[in-house]
């Protein structure tokens, strides 16, 4: 009996040590924030944009206006950016890629830590990557059809628009964020930010059409906070 207790204590101690050794980045030490960003009001109709040029390529699939995408059933807003302000941490550049596909930018909103971004041209026609940053120097770089891949670099944290002057309907956004606690909402408006160090933060929600809003959130170690957010026109 006594021996068993010792074993249990030892195993427990060992587990404790393991947990400590894994460090604060481990989910055991941080909390998670999850939630849904919803649209207050009736979801707007989905707008299709008829391409006016390079129809053989751009006309292959339908192109939708992505400036405000709301799921009919759940009213969740896609392409909203949720970030935890003031949380300490540094994101590692894992080589984000931004594709020009079917005459749209994929993804529509790209989140990346400061560093290099690979820009692809899957269409094989002339596109140009025109970024409208203020802190990052504005780029307007042509990517002709034969140039499938090129690299651009953004060093400053900023949210800016990207357009293609050859195809005026093409719009994308790049979110350069110093800290790794950023998420883009999915089709249902859902998001999840993990491994957030415990503390009280301001949760910032940014959307290209609906603008920025803020909400306070308290994260506890090992727990998941669920937040419900609503954006209005």
């Amino acid at each position: 009996m006594r021996k068993n207790v010792t074993i249990v204590v030892l195993v427990g101690f060992g587990l404790g040590l393991w947990a400590l050794a894994s460090g604060p980045a481990d989910s055991a030490a941080g909390g998670a924030i999850t939630g849904v960003v919803k649209f207050a009001g009736d979801p707007p109709a989905v707008k299709e944009i008829p391409p006016t040029k390079d129809k053989q390529v751009c006309g292959k699939g339908p192109i939708f206006d992505e400036s405000l995408v709301v799921d009919k059933a759940s009213k969740g807003i896609q392409w909203a950016v949720v970030s935890v302000e003031g949380a300490k941490g540094k994101g590692e550049s894992k080589g984000a890629t931004f594709d020009q596909q079917g005459c749209t930018f994929r993804p529509h909103v790209l989140v990346t830590p400061p560093g290099k971004v690979t820009v692809l041209n899957s269409d094989g026609i002339l596109h140009n990557f025109h970024s409208h940053g203020k802190k990052n120097p504005a780029l307007n770089q042509a990517q002709p059809g034969f140039r499938k891949k090129m690299e651009v670099e953004f060093k400053q944290a900023e949210i800016f628009k990207v357009t293609c002057d050859a195809h005026p309907w093409m719009t994308g956004w790049i979110v350069v964020s110093e800290n790794p606690y950023v998420a883009v909402t999915d089709q249902k408006g859902g998001f999840k930010i993990e491994n957030v160090p415990p503390g009280t933060y301001s949760l910032e929600i940014w959307h290209e059409t609906l603008g920025p809003t803020k909400q306070q959130v308290t994260v506890k170690a090992g727990e998941t906070v669920t937040v419900a957010l609503e954006l209005k026109k």
Partner: protein, 905 residues
């Protein structure tokens, strides 16, 4: 009465008198010495103080330098260097060095020997030649001599490489020695580098300590003339006390020692040794007692208006020291062109430092601008403006244009209709205004016919669209509809609009027909107008007329007024008033074609003495030039008396504007300065000055950004800047129209604009410029681009180029850069809506400069930040590898060749 006892001189004692007089003499001598060295030399005090100040400053620097030397890391580095030095010196003392030195000696001996042999051989060869030639000329057989020549020649050939070889070996040996020497020297230099600053500062301290106290003076020739019109010398001794004026590092020192503001820019171009100080600052250059001898004013009285308005009330002589912005008035003594006032100035220190063009005489520049914009020269004759164009519109054809009721109101109080107008208020009564209107209407001519038919039923909505799109808003404001608080254009500096605000235009216009004709062809009605022809169709002009005629209430025209305006006495009275107030100074008026300017000549106004200025009944104004001028501009009627009527109208200047104009007024001086002080005006400068004036009078900046200013209309193109008029001259960027386009094309374009992007609504209007004006603008752009020769030759495509043209064509094709995705090429239009189209390639050959095409293709963003043209060549991987071997430089040239091969040859 007892007789005075006679005492012989020998027995009289003069001790007392001697003692007293010698004491007086000693006292006087002491006083004289004291006065000479102290009271009469107040500057000694300043020099001693400055010496101390400088000594302390340098000592502080020295301490800092020594502290830097004492830092442990510096010390360790020094120690290391010393160690290195020891090693290097050791090496030099070692056997290697000795051997090397020995080798040099050996090699030198060898070389000398062989060199001597070679030289002797050459001498002998000369001799042999002589004998052989001699024998030849005497007709003898000279085979033997020739054989000798050949032998020596052979010997020389053999010796030459040997000598060369020996020389090289010697050099190599020397080099080895030098290398060892150099190693030592380098380390020594490095050590010296550390201590050099301290050493230099120590030397400076010593120099300061031993510097004598002395009056410093500059003698200037060619600035002043005497009564006989002969140049006389001028002496400036200001530097005797203003010791830090031309030295950096005393920016925060107390007043007499402070460094001159913008020292490098101002004193760099005007060294004190050559220009002195009073050339700009006036005052008494020879005086060494500042209090009143230099400045020429008695210090302030408590009630003086003086200090408040830049002067002091009690002036001791006519041209006292100039203070503050008033100093700028001296610039025009030597600088005739205002483009000369700007200088490149470094701002900030170290990494953040940048160079900016800064106007060093901003008040004067502004004053000149006001003078020209407001047309002061219309009434005041001033040297340099005698031929300048009148600033107001011609009033020879107004009978069909203006509503009489409006005209009277306008003449009486222009600001009530247009708050931002340039027209001043003449303070006329209603009767006087009616009389002037009566004359103007009676002498008005009918309008010439203008082609086109006005459609009274045109749609105002369509008119509004046209108004917003063709470019009217570049010059005209319509504050009732489009919010806009400030005046725009380059007239902003005087708070005036370039063109009238059209919010209430219908109140003014008598006949829509007239407006239609005006819009169709403004120059036909008023040949001098800056209003351009927008090449509107009848339909467009009609719609625009309909829209404008809805802005404001139409006025009633009572019959009594119509009759009053036709009365002969009224018309005659109006004629008199126009003559009296000088309306023809700004406006072309019939019957006054040869009238003389009505106001005094201002060419020497800055030198007017108080005696020449009448203060009238204005006892409250202090008797100084500054105060007189201030109040005259503020209230032109202030010096009027019962006996003397004054005619100047009120411009409603603010205090600041008055002070600005006063600086300009001070600069009006008919003094002649010797050539050596004057800046040689270059042809480029003249071109820039003329161009800037043209840009201002035609308000090019209403649409285009020029030298960082203007582009007012661009606010209406938020996010669609590619549809707005292009910037033309940027200071920061490299974009300059003169670099971009061929001078010949520019010349033709300015005369008769041919749209580059005809699919846009906004258009470059036809200004109807004269040849001289067009040449002026073209030269301006060319001069700003720094080009000397404005011509350009675009060679025809020949066999040599054909290959490049072909490569360019391939690059531009859809498989590669797909230029046709946006660019029009003759009849080939890109897909998609016209807003996204880019200029026609077939225009390039006649329009663009081939050099510019290369710069542009390399990086369009650098040339025109924000352009929609993307960069195709950012790095070595940008171009396709299969064309021209993937060489990007060649590909750019190929694209250029292709571009210039298009269009008509």
């Amino acid at each position: 009465m007892p007789r005075r006892q006679f005492v012989p001189d020998e027995k009289r004692s003069l001790r007392g008198i001697f003692f007293i007089s010698s004491m007086v003499l000693v006292g006087t001598t002491v006083w004289a010495l004291w006065d000479e060295s102290v009271s009469r030399r107040p500057w000694i005090r300043y020099q001693t103080a400055f010496k101390q100040l400088e000594y302390q400053t340098v000592q502080r620097e020295l301490e800092e330098a020594r502290a830097r030397l004492d830092q442990p890391e510096v010390q360790t580095r020094l120690e290391k260097l010393r160690e290195e030095l020891r090693w290097a010196e050791e090496a030099r003392r070692g056997p290697d060095y000795q051997a090397a030195v020995k080798e040099v000696e050996g090699r030198k001996a060898a070389y000398d020997a062989i060199n001597q042999e070679l030289r002797f051989t050459r001498s002998e060869l000369d001799e042999a030649y002589y004998w052989s030639d001699k024998a030849k000329h005497e007709g003898r057989d000279y085979t033997a001599e020739l054989a000798e020549v050949n032998r020596l020649k052979e010997l020389e050939r053999k010796l030459e490489p040997e000598a060369e070889d020996a020389k090289q070996q010697l050099e190599a040996a020397k080099e080895r020695v030098k290398k060892l020497d150099r190693a030592v020297q380098e380390v020594r230099d490095k050590i010296k580098g550390f201590t050099a600053e301290a050493l230099r500062l120590e030397q400076r301290l010593e120099a300061i300590r031993t510097r004598p106290l002395e009056v410093k003076q500059v003698v200037l020739d060619g600035l002043d003339k005497n009564e006989f019109d002969v140049f006389v010398l001028r002496v400036d001794r200001c530097e005797t006390c203003h010791l830090g004026i031309d030295r950096p590092g005393f920016e925060n020192a107390p007043p007499p020692f402070r460094t001159h503001p913008n020292r490098e820019a101002i004193l760099g171009k005007h060294p004190v040794s050559r220009f002195g100080c009073t050339v700009c600052h006036e005052g008494q250059g020879t005086a060494l007692d500042f209090e009143w001898r230099v400045e020429g004013r008695i210090p302030d009285t408590p009630h003086g208006l003086g200090r408040e308005y830049g002067g002091s009330p009690n002036i001791l002589w006519d041209f006292p020291l100039l203070r503050g912005e008033m100093v700028e008035s001296s610039c025009r003594k030597c600088h005739l062109d205002r483009t000369e006032f700007a200088a490149a100035i470094k701002i900030g220190e170290g990494q953040g430092a940048k160079v900016e063009w800064i106007d060093l005489a901003p008040t004067l520049t502004k004053g000149l601008g006001m003078f020209e914009i407001l047309g002061c020269y219309g009434c005041h004759p001033v040297e340099g403006y005698k031929e300048a164009a009148k600033v107001g519109p011609e009033l020879t054809r107004i009978v069909n244009k203006v509503e009489p009721g409006w005209l009277i109101q306008w003449i009486q109080n222009p600001q009530s209709y247009l708050p931002h107008t340039r027209m001043p208020n003449f303070g006329l009564s209603k009767e006087q205004a009616t009389a002037i209107a009566a004359y103007l209407l009676a002498r008005s001519e009918p309008d010439p016919p203008v082609a086109g038919r006005y459609n009274p039923g045109a749609s105002p909505e369509r008119g509004k669209q046209i108004f917003e799109r063709v470019g009217c808003l570049g010059c005209h404001a319509m504050r009732a509809v489009y919010e806009e608080k400030e005046p725009r254009s380059l007239f902003k500096m005087v708070g005036r609009d370039h063109a009238p605000d059209l919010s209430n235009v219908a109140t003014k216009i008598k006949d829509p027909q007239w407006l239609f004709r005006w819009l169709k062809n403004p120059k036909a009605i008023r040949p001098q107008t800056p209003m351009p022809n927008l090449r509107l169709t009848d339909e467009e002009a009609s719609a625009l007329t309909a829209f404008l005629m809805m802005r404001g209430e139409r006025q009633a025209r009572p019959q009594t007024l119509v009759e009053e305006l036709k009365r002969k006495e009224r018309i005659e009275e109006g004629r008199g008033l126009i003559g009296l107030r000088g309306c023809f100074g700004c406006h072309e008026i019939r019957g006054f074609e040869t009238a003389q300017r009505i106001a005094p000549d201002l060419s020497d106004f800055g030198h007017k003495r108080l005696l020449q200025l009448s203060f009238g009944d204005a006892v409250q104004v202090h008797h100084t030039w500054e105060d007189w001028t201030f109040w005259k501009l503020k209230n032109p009627q202030i010096y009027a008396t019962d006996r003397e009527q004054l005619r100047m109208p009120n411009f409603g200047f603010s205090d600041d504007e008055v002070k600005t104009l006063r600086v300009l007024a001070k600069s009006f001086a008919a003094t002649e300065v010797s050539r050596r002080y004057r800046e040689e005006t270059t042809a480029e400068r003249i071109a820039v000055g003329k161009g800037q004036r043209l840009v201002r009078s035609y308000n090019c900046v209403g649409c285009h950004v020029i030298e960082g200013k203007g582009g007012d209309i661009r606010v209406r193109y938020d996010g669609r800047l590619n549809e707005a008029p292009p910037p033309l001259v940027l200071i920061e960027g490299t974009l300059s129209e003169g670099e971009k386009v061929q001078a010949r094309w520019l010349f033709e374009f300015l005369h008769r604009p041919t749209p580059i992007r005809p699919w846009l609504q906004i258009r470059m209007p036809t200004f109807g410029l004269s040849d001289r004006e067009v040449a002026g603008l073209a030269s301006y752009f060319v001069a700003r681009a720094g080009r000397k020769v404005p011509f350009e030759f675009v060679p025809p495509v020949d066999e040599l180029r054909r290959e490049m043209v072909e490569a360019g064509r391939r690059l531009a094709s859809k498989e590669y850069f797909s230029c046709g995705s946006c660019h029009v090429e003759g009849d080939k239009k890109p897909e998609g809506p016209p807003e996204g189209w880019a200029p026609d390639f077939s225009l390039a050959r006649r329009r663009l400069r081939s050099e510019w095409v290369v710069t542009w293709l390399k990086d369009p963003q650098k040339v025109q930040p924000g352009t929609q043209m993307p960069s195709f060549f950012l790095d070595e991987t940008s171009g396709p590898d299969e064309i021209l071997g993937g060489d990007e430089q060649k590909q750019i040239l190929a694209l250029r060749e292709y571009l210039l091969s298009l269009g008509r040859q």
